[in-house]
């Protein structure tokens, strides 16, 4: 296909695409142009303490994972536990469900919070709260936690984006922060960037605005090539990606990994997503979220959870091991949780329904106090019995604290209302090293 772009000279075209990519994707392609220099110290506000972690891999178990059949088993309460058994782990006295035999071997580097509480019991609202620390409200569009991390970690024209989202997981973006901090979405990890869709949170209007910005940057080009004739976003995106593929963004190309690496993570989408996440972390992407859906087990909970766990357990343990041998686990925080948990009661369809009142989060990495279990539910598994309730904001505050981000740095929405990285969450120091 002969693109209309080819009418203009190659240099103009490259520049235009590079600029468009920078504005559309938050990705700088041409460091030679000098723009990659971090020229503003002001952008960086140090946190209260030195960062223990520099990177986050957030594993989002969308649809709400059954905590009872994974990280929070209650073997002493057979009527709520159902057929799932508990197993010992590499950390003394810590148990996990039998669905996680490989992850169990990493417990000495990991912590489990067993008193997560969300105020929302519907997927969308709860996921919003988990991702932003704020309640979904009518007027404000809050930035995702990853966007906050990108913003506060001091991204200034870097060559690759700081915030990547693999495998779906909603269409929340940078909210009222500059859109370049929003996640670069990658639908299928195996295809890397090439087959990525246009970010859903970029509507056409926004895209138009960005093209306009790109135009300003390259007025000679656009002077000869009026905007309305510019090809559709997706084509542009592909061109940009081709450029990236050449050299800068091999980070996104998991085909560069040896066969045994693919095998280690497993062939599932989630496994390959975790492999990509590790590759990105190796290339200093600050925040990677990998989503694994399929946890909404209102029916047939026990079979489905154990099937899901087969690839989740393999991918998670592979990820932890791979990060460790590369010396990256020390600086990476791996977090696994879901928007809420599932009912202790088993419903007549052998399923579990939504339960936001007490569920679990898993954390691993150098910033984490290994082998810790924080809190416990009561004997019916229904409510928090020991330890305080950990809200989504508290969980995000814990991550932000480990990253050394300033928890009280205020960013203003367009209407001048103040917001902070983890809302009013308090770090859970008990799980941090």
């Amino acid at each position: 296909m002969k693109s209309s772009m080819s009418k203009i000279d190659e240099i103009g075209r490259r520049e235009f695409i590079a600029n468009a990519a920078k504005t559309c994707l938050g990705v700088g392609l041409m460091p030679m142009a000098g723009s990659y220099i971090h020229n503003s110290v002001n952008a960086l506000i140090p946190g209260a303490r030195p960062a223990k972690a520099r990177y986050v891999i957030y594993l989002n178990m969308a649809g709400a994972m059954s905590h009872l059949d994974t990280f929070g088993p209650k073997p002493d309460c057979p009527d709520i536990q159902g057929p799932t058994k508990a197993i010992k782990t590499s950390a003394d006295g810590v148990i996990l469900s039998e669905n996680l035999p490989r992850t169990a071997q990493h417990m000495h580097n990991s912590a489990v919070i067993r008193t997560c509480v969300s105020s929302q019991g519907a997927h969308e609202q709860a996921s919003y709260l988990m991702h932003t620390s704020y309640l979904k409200r009518g007027t404000i569009s809050h930035p995702t936690f990853g966007s906050w991390v990108a913003k506060l970690s001091g991204q200034i024209n870097r060559t690759i984006p700081m915030n990547v989202r693999i495998g779906g997981g909603g269409n929340l973006g940078a909210g009222f922060l500059e859109s370049k901090y929003g996640p670069l979405p990658i639908g299928n990890p195996k295809a890397g960037l090439a087959n990525s869709k246009k970010a859903e949170y970029l509507d056409d209007q926004q895209f138009g605005n960005r093209i306009a910005m790109a135009q300003n940057m390259n007025s000679t080009f656009t002077g000869r090539f009026p905007q309305k004739k510019v090809r559709a976003y997706t084509d542009l995106y592909k061109d940009a990606v081709k450029l990236m593929k050449s050299k800068d963004l091999q980070a996104f190309d998991i085909t560069k990994e040896p066969e045994q690496m693919h095998a280690l993570y497993g062939d599932s989408n989630f496994g390959q997503g975790c492999l990509l996440a590790r590759r990105l972390i190796e290339n200093q992407v600050r925040y990677v979220e990998v989503t694994r859906g399929g946890w909404d087990t209102h029916d047939d909970n026990f079979n489905r959870v154990s099937e899901n766990c087969a690839d989740m357990d393999q991918a998670l343990s592979a990820l932890l091991m791979d990060l460790e041998i590369r010396g990256l686990l020390k600086e990476t925080l791996v977090v696994l949780t879901s928007e809420f948990g599932r009912t202790p009661n088993i419903n007549p369809r052998d399923g579990r329904d939504h339960w936001p009142f007490c569920f679990t989060a898993f954390m691993a990495g150098g910033a984490v106090k290994g082998g810790t279990v924080f809190g416990e539910s009561d004997n019916t598994g229904r409510n928090v019995a020991q330890g305080k309730s950990v809200s989504p904001a508290d969980l995000n505050a814990t991550i932000a604290y480990a990253l050394g981000l300033p928890l009280n740095d205020v960013q203003y929405s367009p209407s001048g209302r103040p917001f902070t990285v983890a809302h009013k969450g308090e770090p859970l120091f008990e799980v941090l090293a």
Binding site: G28, P31, Y36, I37, H38, N39, V41, L44, I45, P46, G47, A48, R49, P50, A51, S119, L135, K136, R137, G138, T139, I140, G154, I156, N157, R158, T159, K247, E282, N283, Q284, E324, I325, R326, G327, K330, K369, K388, S391, A393, G404, P406, G416, R417, P418, H423, K424, E426, F429, L432, A433
Partner: protein, 465 residues
């Protein structure tokens, strides 16, 4: 009941006064900035009685008045120029007299009932937010709607809070009408009351938010709910009241912020489920366990110690160093140490880029050179970074020659040599670094034997190979 309400309406319509005439007419201002002209006639409790230019009697709670007005009135009282008690009227308000005899309320509550007549009821476009009457859960809509047509008039609000006031006992469940509503009436309804008609235009409440009944508070505004039962964190209502007094969003925006006692009433109400009325007296409040919060400290102490020894880097110094393409970031607000990461343009970074750091060399505690094109020579420069604690040389061309330069490092605890050319010989240099805690050697050229030897000389060190 009907008779009673009619009585109040009668009072509200105003009445003729026996003239007092001691004080002159004067302009008074309220805390919310409203002004009126009148003369003060007498006082009772915390209520002052004013005569307006129209000759009518206006009771005004003391607390509503601006500070200059308050001092003016205090002075009159101190000089005994003002009579006590309600002014004599031609037709004394029978109902109120009765009520006063039987209740122990202060005059200000009484005054709440003496509001001017209700403004005409506004008409709303069909579909307008305010044209929906909120129906509480579990109530028959027809019944609720019938109730509400008379319910939302101002007098009724005054009346429901007639037995209001006072703070709940520590173990008494919060009664919305009795404990919370009077405080909201007092400080919020000037701005968040029912919409009213002024000069033919409907004036909506501020932020489109009505707070004049339990249902409206639960309903919130178009932005969403402002109360999330059981959760203070998610309750905007609680948040806006407990904001820092300088915060532009604090409510009320003017006048005194709520005090701790008032806030605790709101807090308890929300935690108890934000109910229209308390469940049963026996279901007392559940107390929140107090958590001790200790920040983990020990493991950063090395950085704390070093950080205090070093002079902070200046802005120009940091900016000059940034020219290398590295991200140079202060380690924390308490430290003069910096972290240097060549993440953006690693593959173009060469030995010469490190020359830009000569002014910062004592400040660098973390150095990420992974994937850069630096050579063994560069480590000769790095050797001068006396306070280096963390060094990543992952996937570089570094070999044994380079490591020789590091043998004298004194603070280095972490070194990443994954994917480098380091061999067993290089490990001998490492074994001289006594501060080491973690060494990563995967995918380098070292042998099992070499690692074994290193483990023997540095038994405490975590070595991943």
């Amino acid at each position: 009941m009907v008779w009673f309400r009619a009585g109040i309406l009668f009072v509200l319509a105003g009445f003729c006064l026996v003239a007092w005439a001691q004080e002159t007419f004067r302009k008074f201002t309220t805390t919310t900035g409203q002004a009126f002209t009148g003369r003060v006639l007498s006082y009772e409790g915390r209520t002052f009685y004013f005569q307006g230019k129209d000759g009518k009697l206006y009771p005004v709670p003391y607390d509503r008045l601006s500070t200059p007005d308050k001092s003016y009135l205090i002075k009159l009282v101190q000089e005994k120029k003002l009579p006590k008690g309600k002014p004599q009227t031609a037709k004394p308000p029978v109902q109120n007299g009765k009520k006063d005899d039987t209740s122990s309320q202060t005059g200000s509550d009484n005054a709440e009932k003496l509001k001017p007549p209700p403004p005409p009821k506004p008409q709303f476009r069909p579909g307008s937010f305010f044209s929906y009457i909120p129906v509480p859960l579990g109530q028959d809509p027809a019944e609720a709607l019938a109730h509400s047509s008379t319910d939302s008039t101002p007098q009724e609000v005054g009346e429901t809070s007639a037995d209001a006031g006072g703070m709940p006992g520590p173990d008494e469940p919060i009664d919305f009408e009795k404990h919370l509503m009077p405080m909201i009436e007092e400080s919020c309804l000037d701005c968040h009351g029912a919409p009213y008609v002024k000069n033919g235009r409907t004036i909506p409440p501020k932020a489109g938010l009505r707070l004049d009944s339990h249902e409206w508070i639960i309903k919130g505004n178009l932005d969403g709910a402002i109360v999330s039962p059981g959760s203070l964190d998610e309750s905007t209502l609680y948040q806006v009241i407990t904001l820092d007094p300088d915060d532009p969003e604090i409510m009320p925006p003017k006048g005194e912020p709520w005090d701790d006692e008032q806030i605790s009433v709101l807090e308890r109400w929300i935690l108890e489920g934000a109910k229209p009325r308390p469940d049963a007296p026996s279901l007392a409040t559940k107390s929140k366990p107090v958590e001790s919060k200790t920040e983990p400290d020990s493991s950063v102490s090395r950085l704390d110690v070093i950080g205090k020894k070093v002079r902070p880097a200046s802005r120009p110094q940091l900016e000059a160093a940034m020219k290398s393409g590295a991200l140079v970031s202060p380690l924390s607000e308490k430290h003069s140490l910096v972290r240097v990461e060549f993440s953006s343009a690693a593959y173009q970074t060469t030995d010469s880029d490190l020359s830009l750091f000569s002014n910062l060399k004592n400040n660098i505690s973390h150095l990420d050179l992974s994937k850069t094109k630096i050579s063994d020579q560069a480590l000769g420069t790095v050797q001068g970074y006396r306070n280096l604690v963390w060094l990543s040389l992952r996937n570089t061309q570094i070999g044994d020659r380079g490591l020789e330069s590091l043998a004298k490092m004194e603070e280095l605890t972490y070194i990443n040599l994954v994917g480098t050319k380091v061999t067993d010989k290089g490990l001998e240099s490492l074994s001289l670094i006594k501060s080491l805690e973690e060494v990563y050697l995967w995918n380098s050229k070292v042998s099992e034997k070499g690692v074994e030897n290193l483990r023997n000389t540095l038994p405490e060190v975590k070595i991943i190979f």
